[in-house]
């Protein structure tokens, strides 16, 4: 549990995802490319969970930051010859953060439908730019020729995706650590307050608007880094990173896992991407239909996602973890 009565100590179950990742690295070397992709989407989903699950901002425009990060990383490599991976990441983070602050300041004054629509409008603008500015972005063909220098001078991306996997894993670990601290801090408690009762937050003197911009920007930076990671590991970036289908899929992943609970962002992409890798190739149309169908089912019958279902099916598990949390 978070908040002032919560317990910030890391429970043993929270180390499972990392153990699992380690196991995958050693035991399933053929799947590391998929694994890296999953890790990137977990990061992306985590960034969305921060604003959707914790701050309560409903957006379909998160791919704007993802896509911007992806393109910035790609362009400074392919067009400006900057190949150091950390510089690429930093540039992507900076660009996404800037976009986050600017657009956040504009759209966070609105709410609900207007906000949703504006997030989509912003993504559409970026999509238009990427589409038309072919000299920089490669337009509909995408941008290839993205090179990434060996990480720390020693680790070059290899054909088997080993370096990529570890690279993304470390990035995700850092992000997870920082997000976790944020959630358990007073700022995190305040986010929950804003989500639960905005009127009351105004009445206790919280500068709601500024705080929303702050969390929106943090989330944007994370999404931008995720996008850059995708470009770096694929050495390519295409228009789909800015498409609504991707934004929709991300939402599905997050809802599937469970919103507002950090680990929903872990479970969702794992389940979705593995299923997609297996099923989508065999039955592409059924896959798409199935995703929509599952989404509808989840919304109507299991709004808490997989984690929510686990809560219900394993009450002992939940009681144990909350008991440990309140024993302070």
């Amino acid at each position: 549990m978070t908040g002032y009565t919560g317990n910030p100590r890391i429970r043993w179950t929270e180390w499972l995802p990392w153990l699992l990742a380690g196991a995958v690295f050693f035991l399933l070397p053929e799947y590391l490319a998929l694994g890296a992709r999953i890790l990137i989407f977990i990061l992306f989903a985590l960034s969305l969970d921060l604003i959707l699950g914790y701050a309560g901002i409903i957006t379909l425009g998160h791919s704007a930051f993802f896509g911007l990060g992806a393109y910035v990383a790609g362009c400074i490599s392919a067009k400006a010859g900057v190949t150091d991976p950390f510089v690429q990441l930093a540039a992507a983070a900076l660009a996404a953060g800037l976009l986050g602050v600017l657009t956040g300041a504009v759209i966070l004054r609105t709410r609900a439908l207007t906000l949703l629509m504006l997030t989509m409008a912003i993504t559409s603008i970026l999509l238009e730019i990427a589409n038309k500015w072919t000299s920089m972005t490669g337009g509909a063909d995408g941008l290839s020729g993205v090179t990434v220098a060996p990480i720390l001078g020693a680790f070059r991306f290899d054909l088997f995706g080993r370096v990529a996997f570890i690279y993304c894993l470390v990035a995700l670990f850092l992000a997870w650590f920082l997000v976790r601290r944020l959630i358990y801090s007073p700022f995190g408690a305040m986010l929950t307050g804003m989500r639960e009762n905005t009127t009351r937050m105004h009445a206790v003197g919280a500068p709601v608007y500024l705080r929303l911009i702050a969390v929106y920007t943090i989330s944007a930076v994370m999404a931008g880094v995720a996008g850059a990671l995708l470009t770096q590991t694929n050495q390519f970036v295409g228009l789909n990173v800015l498409g609504f289908e991707l934004a929709g899929e991300l939402l599905v992943m997050l809802i599937l896992g469970g919103v507002g609970r950090i680990y929903g962002a872990f479970i969702g992409p794992v389940v979705y991407l593995i299923a997609q890798d297996y099923l989508a190739k065999q039955f592409p149309e059924y896959w798409y239909f199935g995703i929509g169908f599952i989404l509808v089912l989840v919304v109507i019958f299991a709004p808490g996602g997989i984690l929510g279902l686990l809560d219900k099916c394993l009450p002992s598990w939940k009681r144990r973890s909350s008991a440990r949390a309140s024993a302070r």
């Binding site: 959707l52 004054r109 207007t114 912003i122 609504f244 289908e245 939402l251 239909f289 109507i300």
Partner: protein
């Protein structure tokens, strides 16, 4: 103007019923497919094909509303957004499976093709027809909402559902009917616009932003609002494409953001 016909239905359902229905484009697409199939493969006359699009989409929406939508009326915005996105995914898959990825050809009747001479200039006949049609539509809608008992009941039910129920208004049936009307209009718009906006499986995703823009700009719950918004957008779009073609849809988006900053409730909105 197509945007108006389609989006006014969305303004009605969202503004009057408070339900965020992103899958509105699905009904427009369905209407487009029905229309094109009726006109092309079944060889029906133009007005009949349109009517069929309207009716079938309306019926489809009733089924969906009864089975699914009605469970989510009080479920909160996120649930509604997610649910309707799920519907879009399903609809896109179905459309692709049945019709493939190419748009079905639309054969306009003779009397609507070509040009017509108005005020000393030549305009495409179909466009003129669309504008006239939309004008008649808005007038009848306005009449329907402002002047009829049905309209009064809808407004009452939206204002305070429990209260309306206690004075004997069957809110369930009312919402279903209103939803059918809004979706039927979308289907009609999809059919009308089939010649101009290609009916493809990706339709609901591609144009979602524009439907939302028209509704948000025009103001939720208003009938005039989306009309003016669609009109302005149409003019602005044509003007931009004429003078600064590279900028494309930019100015639309930028203008939308600008207007909404100035008036967050849209031009004629009564609620956010």
């Amino acid at each position: 103007m197509i945007l108006y016909v389609i989006s006014v239905g969305l303004s009605v359902t969202m503004g009057l019923m408070g339900f965020i229905n992103l899958a509105h484009g699905v009904f427009a697409m369905a209407g487009g497919y029905v229309f094109a199939t009726a006109l092309g493969r079944l060889g029906m006359p133009f007005p009949l094909a349109l009517l069929l699009a309207f009716v079938i989409t309306g019926l489809l929406s009733v089924v969906l509303e009864r089975l699914l939508y009605s469970r989510l009326y009080s479920a909160g915005e996120l649930a509604q957004v997610l649910f309707t996105i799920g519907l879009i995914f399903m609809a896109v898959a179905v459309a692709r499976a049945i019709y493939g990825t190419l748009a079905p050809p639309v054969f306009l009747p003779e009397y609507l093709r070509g040009q017509v001479h108005v005020l000393g200039r030549d305009f495409p006949t179909y466009r003129v027809f669309l504008i006239l049609f939309s004008a008649i539509l808005i007038v009848s809608l306005w009449f329907g909402v402002e002047r009829t008992r049905w309209g009064a009941m809808v407004r009452a039910a939206v204002d305070h559902r429990a209260m309306a129920q206690s004075v004997g208004i069957n809110t369930r049936r009312l919402f279903t009917l209103t939803f059918a009307l809004g979706s039927g209009l979308a289907g009609l718009g999809g059919g009308l616009g089939a010649d101009i906006i290609a009916v493809q499986p990706t339709y609901p995703f591609e144009h979602l932003v524009f439907f939302l823009i028209v509704v948000a700009l025009g103001g939720l719950g208003s009938l005039r609002g989306p009309f003016i918004a669609a009109l302005l957008l149409g003019i602005a779009d044509t003007a931009c494409k004429y003078w600064i073609p590279e900028l494309g849809a930019f100015l639309i988006y930028a203008a939308t953001i600008g207007v909404l900053l100035w008036r967050p409730m849209g031009l004629f909105g009564t609620r956010v």
